[in-house]
């Protein structure tokens, strides 16, 4: 039983990459490993919305409306 537990723990740790072998970006990306894709999609959606708002505000500002 204990042996099985050890094996499964070893396998679990093997599935995680050795961080010393990763570059800065991979280390950064690995931090999001457990984040569901849904949240990344929401973040991208928010960024796109922010982009649209920034462009609109920029136009209104240059025309002196804001």
């Amino acid at each position: 039983m204990e042996e099985e537990k050890t094996t499964s723990e070893t396998q679990k740790s093997d599935s995680r990459p050795d961080h010393s072998q990763l570059n800065a970006f991979e280390n950064f990306y690995e931090k999001f490993r457990k984040v569901p894709l849904k949240y990344i999609d929401v973040f991208i959606g928010v960024c796109v919305a922010a982009l649209v708002i920034v462009v609109l505000v920029g136009i209104l500002k240059s025309k002196g409306i804001l």
Binding site: Y29, L37, I40, L51, G58, I59
Partner: protein
């Protein structure tokens, strides 16, 4: 068996490109002179040197590296080109003792000088195992300081006509700058797809240790990649100088981030091992179209920077999404 078209995947892979195309269509419909020959030519002239610089950076990114000194190296190359190609009868000539030299010779000299900086970058990264981010950040500051010392912080101009023609001349309807970019594009496509060096590059980017075990000379490959990148910055700086008709220590400032952003938008993963020359071209085009669109819309310049930054964040988020989806 016929593959089913995955619309969600297509959207996720090309989100920024679709977004910019929609923006361009909107600008084209709401403003005058957007879809004109002059604007197209202007776009081509802006894209050409940036594409050359981005091609240089792409090699570093594919091998899991980066090059933050790209912009400053472009500036130094533009200043060297300016010093070598000022008109002989120009009163404020930087090197009055220098004889008149043809522009191709000057270009080769500048490329040779800049290749030394690339070799230093490559050696620091390959031999000393310094992270590329840190090594090239150091080089960025060194190059900027060197540029200030060489030029005494004075802007340079008074170029001879043949040098200015490199940027303003055309072959039929095609500008010389576009021809330079085309040659570089073909060269890089051949290098990445048809040579051993290209295969080594992708192998190093995929898994450096595995590549080393498989017999790839990782050290030599990395040094070659950084030397080639610096040669491209030299060419880019030479063309940027010719296009602007002058050069100063601020020439090329921020080009490295534009190049990295363009590569990321074009599908060159910051995780290495992935990237195509066509993707780099698309990335540069998208970034330049975005800038032109914002200009046409009359967006306040400060907001233009915020919009560009958001596009970079979206590109990295999409890259992260692809990385996580693969796991």
């Amino acid at each position: 068996m016929e593959k089913k078209f995955d619309f969600k995947k297509f959207l996720s892979n090309n989100a920024i490109i679709i977004l910019i195309i929609l923006l361009a269509l909107f600008v084209g419909c709401t403003t005058q002179n957007f879809f004109t020959e002059t604007n197209g030519k202007n776009l081509l002239l802006n894209v050409a040197p940036r594409f050359i610089i981005a091609c240089g950076v792409s090699g570093c990114l594919i091998t899991k590296g980066t090059d933050l000194s790209a912009g400053r190296q472009v500036g130094l190359a533009a200043c060297f080109s300016a010093m070598l190609l000022q008109s002989v009868d120009y009163s404020a000539r930087m090197l009055p003792w220098l004889p008149d030299i043809p522009w191709p010779v000057a270009l080769l000299i500048v490329m040779a000088i800049m290749a030394c900086f690339g070799a230093i970058n490559g050696c620091i990264i390959a031999f000393l195992k310094v992270p590329p981010f840190i090594a090239t950040l150091g080089m960025q500051t060194i190059v900027y300081g060197l540029c200030s010392v060489i030029t005494n912080n004075q802007p340079m101009g008074g170029y001879k006509q043949s040098y200015l023609t490199v940027a303003s001349g055309t072959l039929g309807p095609i500008p010389f700058l576009a021809i330079f970019a085309l040659i570089v594009g073909i060269f890089f496509w051949f290098l990445y797809n048809k040579t051993r060096h290209g295969k080594y590059m992708y192998a190093i980017g995929g898994n450096e240790n595995a590549a080393q075990v498989a017999g790839v000379n990782v050290t030599a490959s990395l040094i070659r990649i950084y030397i080639l990148a610096s040669c491209m910055y030299a060419l880019g700086g030479f063309l940027v100088g010719a296009k602007a008709g002058g050069a100063s220590t601020n020439t090329g400032n921020g080009y490295e981030l534009e190049a990295i952003a363009a590569c990321t938008i074009g599908g060159v993963s910051t995780n290495g091992g992935v990237g195509k020359v066509s993707g780099v071209l698309v990335g540069v085009l998208v970034f330049e179209v975005l800038k032109i669109c914002l200009q046409f819309l009359g967006v306040d310049p400060a907001y233009t920077y915020i919009a560009q930054g958001l596009v970079i964040v979206i590109a990295v988020a999409l890259d992260l999404r692809k990385y996580l989806a693969k796991k």
